[in-house]
């Protein structure tokens, strides 16, 4: 398959998140990644509710069907479980489907196919079949998205063997990880965040790949380690930058992938700082924060100077109303407070 060569050619991983070059919007970066994949490999298909309509899945798929045809870029019936199974069966037979959803909430309909089928077939088939499929969804927030349109469900899936889960925060990563996901021979879930999708950033042209399973330092510091992904890490960066005058600095690690998890970078940083704040866009309980917090208490215990802290969502459904949303989601003030607490702790 053409991916090997194309990706070997790319130099990206040597140069994570370049500061100079062409600036692209997050959405355009994703659109470009899909276009490159469609152009490179005739077995790549892009499907999902509305991928070929004028809205083009928030612009991520806009006009792809015009260039690559409606056989390869097509709208689907509203049948999330069935269509996920269809993607799995196609992937088992040489196709590389990219199945897009407006919201992760809709993937809950497909858990039987995701958890009991797509992620397990390679194992059950004793390695004879692989399932190179990508399922993409954009986590919603605000404007009344509410309990059924703003769920960040990555925490529900982190424990599922055979899956890979990607949560980018920058346009550069969004493109490079989408290409890496399509090139990967396993089922990969990509959870974007609608608010990250507003970002612009430097995005090299052509094919490059961001390695799945490797986090990056967004900031280097001494007082504590903040680790997470997606919009949560974005907010963390802004907050720690605001605190620079208070002489507070932190290692801020953008994991970019939550499964496989980059244990090395987390433990490396905690060894230095001795303090960790784990952030996530999902519920704190039983989710990504919990896994990382436990990991540190297990493998980084001797480094820890103070309690592990987590900042995600409370054990409450997302409310629809604007005012309630303001109380529901962590904001910069919450960050300032928890970081101050952690720094003074001993």
């Amino acid at each position: 398959m053409p991916w090997a060569q194309a990706l070997i050619a790319s130099k990206s991983s040597e140069n994570p998140d370049p500061k100079e070059g062409r600036v692209l919007s997050y959405v355009d970066a994703l659109n470009e990644a899909l276009a490159l994949a469609l152009g490179l490999d005739p077995n790549v298909i892009v499907l999902g509710q509305g991928v070929n309509d004028p809205k083009g899945m928030f612009g991520v798929t806009t006009d792809l069907h015009k260039k690559y045809g409606t056989e390869r870029v097509f709208d689907t019936p509203l049948s999330e479980e069935g269509m996920f199974g269809v993607c799995t069966g196609a992937a088992m037979n040489g196709i590389r489907p990219v199945y897009l959803h407006n919201r992760p909430d809709f993937l809950l309909l497909a858990f039987n196919q995701i958890v009991s089928h797509a992620s397990k077939i390679h194992y059950i088939d004793n390695g004879k079949t692989c399932v190179p499929l990508v399922a993409w969804a954009a986590i919603g927030r605000g404007w009344g998205s509410g309990a059924q349109h703003s769920q960040a469900i990555q925490g529900l899936l982190m424990g599922v063997p055979g899956l890979k889960i990607i949560m980018p925060s920058t346009p550069y990563d969004a493109k490079g990880l989408m290409l890496a996901a399509i090139a990967d021979n396993n089922p990969v879930l990509i959870f974007e965040h609608r608010w990250c999708m507003r970002n612009k950033g430097v995005v090299p042209e052509g094919i490059y790949k961001v390695p799945i399973g490797e986090g990056v330092y967004r900031r280097k510091g001494k007082d504590l380690t903040i680790v997470g992904t997606s919009h949560s890490i974005e907010l963390a960066i802004q907050s720690i930058d605001d605190l620079a005058d208070n002489k507070i600095t932190a290692d801020v690690i953008d994991l970019r992938t939550i499964k496989p998890l980059d244990e090395k970078i987390i433990l490396e940083s905690i060894q230095k700082t001795g303090k960790i704040l784990v952030v996530d866009t999902g519920w704190e309980m039983g989710g990504v924060c919990a896994e990382i917090g436990c990991l540190v208490a297990e493998k980084g215990f001797s480094y820890l100077k103070s309690p592990v802290r987590r900042m995600g969502l409370p054990d409450v459904p997302s409310p629809a109303g604007f005012t309630l949303e303001q109380f529901y989601y962590p904001n910069k003030d919450n960050f300032y407070q928890i970081i101050q607490e952690m720094v003074t702790e001993n």
């Binding site: 004028p54 019936p77 509203l78 049948s79 009344g144 309990a147 409310p319 629809a320 109303g321 309630l324």
Partner: protein, 336 residues
């Protein structure tokens, strides 16, 4: 372009004048409320994803008119018309859209979760087809408690693509539950036309037939047709004869969500919208009432005035109501 069924305006049903005038008033009221919401939506004070029902009014009014107050309705994301037709409070609805503490769902639901248990608006789901099995369960509860109540659940043409819809329909048919599955086929799912989602030769109501339900396809822009077929279905349900599946052909005049028509974006032909606007459920009935000498221009002006006043009062009430407090976020996660 979608083929339209022609509303037979010349039918003379055994429907009393009062009921006919009620149809007209209720449809007009829903239309004016939607227009008022639409006209203020750009102010960004109603921070909720609205799905306007212009073009669907005959379905809400014709079907809810066949139900008793203690019968339950359930629906999907396009709630406004059904909520209002079943008797939901306008003030509660607008407060909900304005995210006020006194909204009909306490600002937890928004436009997609308008709720008024007191009048039998049982609930809705923002997940397409999510409410169909739930409504079926409500019908099961009526059967188990041998209550003389029925359930009517509204679903879109995309909802029948979800497997759970057929799981619920099979169970309802198996148990002969007192429920009406009412499909509002407006030929689109967001911007996806029906022919991209279901085979051309297939008719939605015929699918339900195969699952063992009495089924009928009607003109959803004709409130008289909607009323009569719902009456039949409800009677069947009350007699313990089981569920009915209704497919009502209609059209969404506005974009899938938000204010205004979006056909300019190119997913549908603006001509198609014009074409359907000729089959306005409200004007259609108006012409009928006029030809039957049951109504006059004066009556209409009076109705318009009354509705206008009600709407203005309700907006003032909503806008002047107060927002929820932080502590409200944490209530009702669990029931005691």
């Amino acid at each position: 372009m979608v083929k339209v069924t022609n509303p037979k305006k010349n039918q003379s049903p055994k429907i009393s004048k009062e009921i006919l005038l009620g149809f007209y008033y209720d449809m007009l009221r829903i239309r004016r409320i939607e227009e008022a919401i639409e006209s203020r939506y750009h102010e960004d004070e109603m921070k909720s994803p609205i799905h306007l029902v212009m073009g669907h009014e005959a379905i809400s009014v014709g079907s809810c008119s066949s139900l008793n107050k203690d019968d339950l309705i359930y629906c999907g994301h396009r709630t406004h018309g059904h909520y209002l037709a079943k008797g939901g409070s306008l003030e509660g609805m607008l407060s909900e859209l304005y995210c006020r503490a006194n909204g009909c769902s306490g600002s937890r639901g928004g436009s997609m979760h308008l709720l008024d248990k007191s009048v039998g608006m049982g609930g809705s789901s923002a997940i397409v087809a999510g409410a169909i099995p739930i409504a079926t369960g409500a019908a099961l509860s009526f059967q188990l408690k041998s209550e003389d109540r029925v359930v009517l659940v509204y679903l879109g043409d995309a909802a029948v693509e979800e497997g759970a819809c057929w799981e619920a329909i099979n169970f309802a048919a198996l148990k002969k539950l007192p429920i009406i599955f009412f499909c509002e086929n407006n030929f689109y799912s967001v911007c996806s036309p029906l022919e991209m989602r279901q085979p051309p030769n297939v008719q939605i109501y015929r699918k339900a037939e195969g699952f063992g339900l009495p089924t009928v396809q009607i003109d959803g822009t004709n409130v008289l047709d909607v009323f009569e077929c719902t009456q039949e279905a409800v009677a069947r349900a009350r007699k313990g004869k089981g569920p009915t599946f209704v497919e009502a052909l209609t059209y969404r005049w506005r974009g899938h969500g938000g204010a205004g028509d979006d056909s300019a974006s190119g997913y549908r032909d603006p001509e198609e919208v014009k074409h359907w606007e000729q089959f306005c459920p409200i004007n259609g009935l108006y012409d009928y009432l006029i030809t039957m000498n049951l109504y006059s221009k004066k009556d209409k002006d009076f109705a318009e005035k009354k509705i206008k006043e009600e709407i203005e009062k309700a907006f003032e009430h909503a806008i002047s109501s107060s927002n929820p407090q932080e502590m409200d976020l944490y209530t009702h996660v669990y029931s005691q």
